[in-house]
Amino acid sequence: MVELSHDSRPIIGRGPPLGATFLTLALASVALMVADTRYHQLERVREWLSAAAYPVQVAVDLPFRAWNWLTGSFADRGRLREANLELTARLRLANLQLQRFAALEDENRRLRDMRENSAGIADRVLVASIMNVDLDPFRHRVLLDKGARDGVFKGQAVLDAEGIFGQVSQVHAETAEVILITDAEHAIPVQSNRSGLRTIAVGTGDSGRLSLPFVTVESDLKAGDLLISTGIGGVFPRGYPVAEVTRVDRTAAATFALVDARPTSQLDRNREVLLVWFTAPAAPQEPAADTPASTEAPSEQPQ
């Protein structure tokens, strides 16, 4: 039972009445919500407040980072050797493939140049790590440790080694919030690698599933098809894997087929992701690149 203390008298004649304070604060919150969602007037305020939140986020993230560092630096020799051997083997394989790709890319570029079509291929990447901070459990958002100071911008594409991860939804000074492709509010234009069919993949709020709601019953799509990004819209670079079709349900009576896909990128357990700068196919726009030192090849972070 809650203990009675000496100051248990109700508030009488002390400060403004409770109801008035409540009404003021409640109206203030409603005004804030309206200003934030309808008019987007609060970018500046959010910037200040997120500067106050940053130390908290760092403090929460720090123990996990320290633990990772500790386990990393005290890993036993045998395990490191094993990992090293495996990585060397993988690198050799990747290099072999890369040699072929270099020739193909050259050829592709020449062909594109002939058609005067600049390719939407990632030309600068920045490695960012996901902070160990839980945002709303019902939205698929993560916090990255790179922000406006590193040249991150709103709407920037985020990739990982296996495919498209999401896009930046909010930029703060030191951090950036990323909305994953599986968030229920996210949609991405995709194309089947096999048949060339174009459609839209919508997040479901379930971390292992995307849904393709606009596929007609007759369209050429089957389980196992790889969906790649089309580059339409200019947010994502073109030609990166997004998801693999897992289920196509066709009912003769319905107009649209029920199609599910599994994201190729490791959405729930990834630690490092890549922020991507690329030349958009339609309107080329290069953001100010003020951190040349942070440009790294993705192969430097084999995880």
Binding site: V2, A26, S29, M33, V45, F64, D134, P137
Partner: protein, 160 residues
């Protein structure tokens, strides 16, 4: 008299701030949706024990800070916090007389009001998530209430 009030005020601020930090500490994925709203439970506890110290202003600020921490629409949690704080203030003379289980039931109602505010404003701003596990924090918070009271009472007794 004076220093006691000061330590209580300090305890109030620190405990709510700790609740806010715990609101973003990563949990395993299956446990994440059931995370109790510790900051709000702390606000309720302090309003019940020391209503003259725990006002609405700090509760509102705590809610606003939670909005920023979680990257939600500004004002959502602030509204929830201030509404719950107000209702608790209104009911505190009755609530503090309840036996502990009865009190946990009342707290569950308050948490449900809070969760409903978040749910409703989520829907208005277009982020509606309608799964049943959205209401898990209400249950986990109510189950945790006796522990919160025990911990808080131990703290305040020592500080007196």
């Amino acid at each position: 008299m004076r220093p006691t009030n000061f330590t209580r005020r300090l305890l109030y601020w620190v405990s709510v701030a700790a609740g806010l930090v715990l609101a973003v500490v990563p949990l395993p994925e299956w446990l994440g949706p059931a995370r109790p709203d510790l900051a709000l439970l702390a606000v309720i506890y302090w309003i019940l024990t020391s209503p003259r110290i725990a006002g609405l202003g700090y509760a509102w600020l705590a809610g606003l800070f939670l909005d920023v921490l979680r990257g939600m629409t500004l004002g959502q949690h602030a509204l929830g916090f201030v509404l719950v704080a107000f209702l608790t203030h209104r009911a505190q003379l009755r609530m503090r007389m309840f036996p502990i289980l009865h009190q946990a039931g009342a707290v569950m109602l308050l948490l449900a009001v809070y969760q409903f505010v978040i749910f409703w404003t989520d829907g208005l701003t277009g982020h509606g998530y309608t799964g049943w596990n959205r209401w898990l924090p209400v249950l986990s918070g109510a189950l945790l209430w006796p522990l919160i009271v025990a911990a808080g009472d131990t703290l305040t007794r020592r500080s007196r």
